[in-house]
Every structure is written in C-alpha cells, then in structure tokens.
Amino acid sequence: MNELFTETILIAVLAATVRIATPLIFAALGELITERAGILNLGVEGTMLMAAFAGFAGSFATGSTWAGLLAAMLAGAMMAFLMVFMAATLKVEQVVTGLALNLLAAGMSLYLFKVYFETQSMPMTEVMPFMPIPYLADIPWLGPIMFQQKGLTYLAFLMVPAVWFFLYRTKWGLEIRVLGENPKVIDTKGMSVTLRQYGAVIMGGVLVGLGGAFVTIGSVVRFVPDITAGRGWLALVIVIAGNWRPSGILLAALVFAFLDALQLQIQGVGVDLPYQIFLALPYVMAVVLMVLKSRGGRSEQPGRLGIPYFRGER
C-alpha cells in the first residue's frame, strides 16, 4: 500500500486524473450550455458516441487527426441539431427525445462502422500526440501532471473559464441563461427564443463532440461499439453535482476522474480488498454527490429546464 504514496505513483495518478477528466469536462460543459438554455439533453452519451465514431472515421479517411476532430465536432453539432429541432421546434418531450438519440447513436455508429469498414482487419488510425509545453512541462510535479498532456486536454481546461466568461460576461451568455429561467423575457423583447435555443444547443453539441473525439482520436487507435462507455451519462451527473456552474463542473469532473485513476493504480498495488469496490468508487461518489446536492445549498438548476416554451403561455 505504501507503494501508492511514492512521488512517481502520485504524479501518475494525478496526470491520469487530468486525462480521464478531459472528455468529461468537454461533455459536461456542452450539456451545461444546453441546459442553461432550458433544454434537457439526455442524449449526451449518444452524441459523444457519434462524435467518437465520426472522429475516428474522419481521421481514417483523410489521414489527418485535425480532419477527424472537425468531423467529430460536426457530428456533435448534428446530433444537437436533432435534439433542438425535436425539443424547440416540434416541442417533443425532451427526456424521450434524449433517450431516443442514445438509441439512434448506438445503432447508427455500429451500422456506419460496419458499412464503412467492410473488412475483417482491425482498422486503426493515428491518434493525437502528447504535446509537452516547453518550460512548463519541466516544473516539478505540476509539469508532468498538467503540461505533458495532449492538445485536447489543454483545450478542455481552457474551456472552463471560457464557458464561464461566455455565460456570465457576454450578452449572448445572458440571453442563454434567461432562456433557461424565463424565455418570455426574450420573446417580449422581440428576440427569437427558438433561434437562441438552436444556437446554445448546437454549441453545446460541438463541445460534447470534442469529448467524443478525445475518446477515439485523442486516445486510442481503434473504434469499438459503445466506446464512450457511459462517460456521457457521467457528464450529466457532473452537471448536477457541479450545480450548473463551470467551476463546479471542473471540480466534479476531477473528483470522478481522480477516483477512477486511483482505482486503476490500487489494483496494481495489490490491496487486500475486492478490486470491484474500487471500480465502483466513481459511481458511488456520483450518488453521494447527488444526495448532498439535494440537501444543501441553493440550486442553480435552470427553472425552465426541460419545459418547452409556447408563445402566449402564462
């Protein structure tokens, strides 16, 4: 057990925490913007999955991970477009729509994979390389943990203040937050509620798409069905645990990622406890955080989350 507390291992656990948190941060920030606009998109898992596939296929087809990244963002935007079209234009029940998107993505990604890669070989693509940042990467402890990562990881962490700035310091951000609380205000000012919801949800979808891209071209050379492995669902929990605020989301994502990184290391150390206990830790923590969240503090949950807006309603 003492092996866990050596410098090398602690640094490795924290560096893994940063990597594991990357797709969660992207997806949760994307869902945050979406939910702030009053749309509850439960299709995060499916959106990530389609983006993960699109990133892989785009990179495979062009030989460029940049093209893959673009494809993943586009796939995220398209899935989000479907969501917002159903929710804001057709006013379909949002929970059902989100769940349907997950089913669609599970089947569609597998189908497209089979159609496109009609082969019995194992298709592989390039992945993004690690990008150590000169000078910063050499700082003891902080360097290997934060500054010897991949480009998408740096971007994910930069997106936290960027999304905060966008939501709380720009006119567009204010309008999006108003959509989630009282869309009638936007409507009575002669501005389009629907148009702004489209913008917010698609922007959120692009961020979720980046999370999906990290799962394939950001990390591994292959695509397998359901490769996102529940990260989209975890992102939904992170939005709630983070109280719909970018800083809270960062903290919640890091807590989940740390527990995951820790359990992987604990198995290797050989602790005399069933390793499944450690595997369950992140999910146990998710439940604990949800319980704590329901009992304390002021909730920042958008008041109109999941409720379609009809002009003229009271």
């Binding site: 194992m122 050379v221 490769i227 492995a229 198995q267």
Partner: protein, 333 residues
C-alpha cells in the same frame, strides 16, 4: 441498444438467408454468431482459422460461412432459431456462452451440429457441443520471454473481465516469468468492461508508472505501449501491426483442430447417419494438438529469451513440461 442490435441482427440474417442455396453434397455450410465485430481478436482468430481450414478442403468439401455479429443476451435465441429453421446449415457456431439456448433448440434440429465456445457454457449432450481454447501454455511461454527481458523486474497484465479463461492465462504468464526470474513481480488489473479501450490504456499507464516495462495486453489496447515506449504482448492473434516495434510476441488461438474435429463428425453423420453424441465436457486441443501457439519472437527480443522460449515450447510439445491450468483469480504481487 438491445433492440437495435436485434433489428440489425435480423436484417443481416434476412440478407444472408435471402441468398441461401440448398446444401450440396460437396458443400458444408456453417452459420456463426459472434458476440462482437469480426475485427475483434477473439472472433478474428476464429475466422482466420476457418480460412485455413477452408483452403484445405477437408473431405473435398467447399466450406461456406454466413455470420451475424454483435449478438448477445436474449438476442442469441432469435438468431439461432432463424439460422436453424432456414435448413441451410450443417453447423451453427456460437462464439460465446449459448448452451442454454442450444439446449432448447437442439432436439428439434438433430441434423445440425451446434457448437458453443468460450466460458460460461455447460454440457448439454446430443448435438450440442462445447468447444474452448486454453491459452495457458502459450501464456506461460510469453511469460518466459517477459521474465527474461524485463529490465525493471516488474511486468503486468491488463484484462477486461476475470474469468477462468482469462485467469488461467494470467497465472500461467506469472508462472512462466517466475520460472526464469524468481524475483519478477506481476501487476494485475481488470477494467471490468468489454468496450473501453481508453480505460484499458489508462490501466496500462498505471502499471507503467508502477515500473512495469512489459505488459501482457488482454485488453487489446496497444497504442499506449507505443506512446510509453514499453513492450506489450499480444493475445489471440499476432498483434504486431497494432504497434510495430512494441509487440515482441503474441499468443495465438487456433481453432483449426476444433473445426476439423466437427467437420469429421458432420461427414460421418451425412454418410452413415451417425447420431451426434457430444461428450459432457469441453472439447479442447492443447498446444501439442495444434489448439494454441505463439508467434515467432521479434528480432529485437534477446537471444536468451528466444532460446528459453524455444526450449520450453519444445518441452511442452514433447510433454516434458506440463503447464498448470490455474483458473483462480490472480492478484498483483
């Protein structure tokens, strides 16, 4: 997912059956049901073996295969029924746990030879056979390589789920490594997921941080070995192409003996009407019988390791060395 998989499975099946032709005397038709995609190592190893057997034309037969991928859970029964009722197939091969479903169907179709492979199956007798591959002998040999070529004296295994068929590989890997290097320590990690290469890569990274410089990759994730500059041993297939320069050796799952065994039974059944009478145990062929093997070690493997692996392989083939098949849950040293 299950619903979509069912729809997709049915559609694929319908497509394959629509072009079905009656079985001719010199044809042998096989239907296969796979739990994953054909690009996955477990399934691809079977397909590679089938290609070898096809090319040999046993008994002068032309072997044809139709298959359905990504079938699991209660969907197995529907696909199994559809293949059975088509009347086209001499053998239906399910590459996963399916003995419960086969038991329900087998008596209705006594002329079909059913095979269920891998863990989680049980004896059902009659025309329901169980086949499996035990890779403990090849895992022992790749362990010998790891024990000799590790520079840190720390090696690792990253697995998906623990099961008899996985545990025996990990335990044999440790035994092989210890046989040549008693001081070597083994890290064992299971990620408990079928579809999470990202987590498998992180598990490998964790072992590398703990000093492992050779990892037996049961999680099919090799990119991390390249990125971290360590050696990863492949499983089921030659995995060199996954990370050239970082896969020194692989175990090989070979289904040729099983296929030939079942084809012999089918030919006998067709010619003489001999009823199928499956033994009440798994049909397994060891390394000596051709059921498993290892790849030729890469050029950069040390001469000492090459020699030791060759020596122990010869000893296994001659029967001089018996590798224990230990399916108990392995833990880290």
């Amino acid at each position: 997912m299950k619903l979509l998989s069912r729809i997709a499975g049915s559609a694929l099946l319908a497509a394959s059956l629509s072009v079905a032709t009656p079985s001719l005397a010199d044809d042998l038709n096989i239907a296969a049901i796979f739990p994953d995609g054909v690009e996955n190592a477990w399934t691809k190893a079977f397909l590679d073996s089938l290609d070898v057997v096809k090319a040999q034309h046993p008994h002068g037969l032309d072997i044809h295969l139709d298959f359905t991928e990504n079938v699991f859970g209660d969907t197995i029964m529907e696909v199994l029924e559809a293949y059975s009722e088509s009347g086209k197939y001499d053998m239906i091969w399910t590459h996963q746990a399916s003995s419960d479903q086969v038991e329900e169907l087998k008596d209705q179709f006594p002329d079909i030879l059913y095979v269920s492979t891998g863990g989680g199956n049980r004896a059902v007798g009659g025309n329901g056979f169980q086949g499996d591959i035990f890779l403990h002998e090849s895992s022992y040999l790749v362990g010998v390589y790891a024990g000799l070529d590790t520079k840190t004296n720390v090696i690792g295994t990253v697995g998906l789920f623990p099961s008899d068929n996985v545990n025996d590989q990990v335990n044999a890997f440790r035994a092989g490594a210890r046989s040549v290097n008693p001081d070597v320590k083994l890290k064992v990690t299971f990620i408990e997921s079928w579809y999470d290469p990202l987590k498998a890569a992180e598990a490998a990274s964790a072992q590398i941080a703990a000093g492992a410089d050779i990892i037996f990759q049961l999680g099919e994730t090799y990119q991390v070995c390249k990125e971290r500059g360590i050696q990863c041993i492949g499983n089921y297939l030659d995995m060199t192409s996954q990370a050239p320069g970082n896969v020194p050796i692989s175990t090989l799952a070979k289904w040729e003996p099983h296929l030939n065994y079942f084809i012999d039974l089918i030919v006998d059944h067709r010619a003489n009407g001999t009823a199928y009478d499956a033994p009440l145990h798994k049909i397994v062929f060891d390394m000596k019988q051709g059921g498993s093997d290892i790849t030729k070690p890469a050029d950069y493997v040390s001469d000492a390791a090459k020699a030791a692996v060759a020596r122990d392989k010869a000893a296994i083939l001659s029967g001089e060395l018996k590798v224990v098949n230990d399916g108990s849950l392995p833990t880290s040293d």
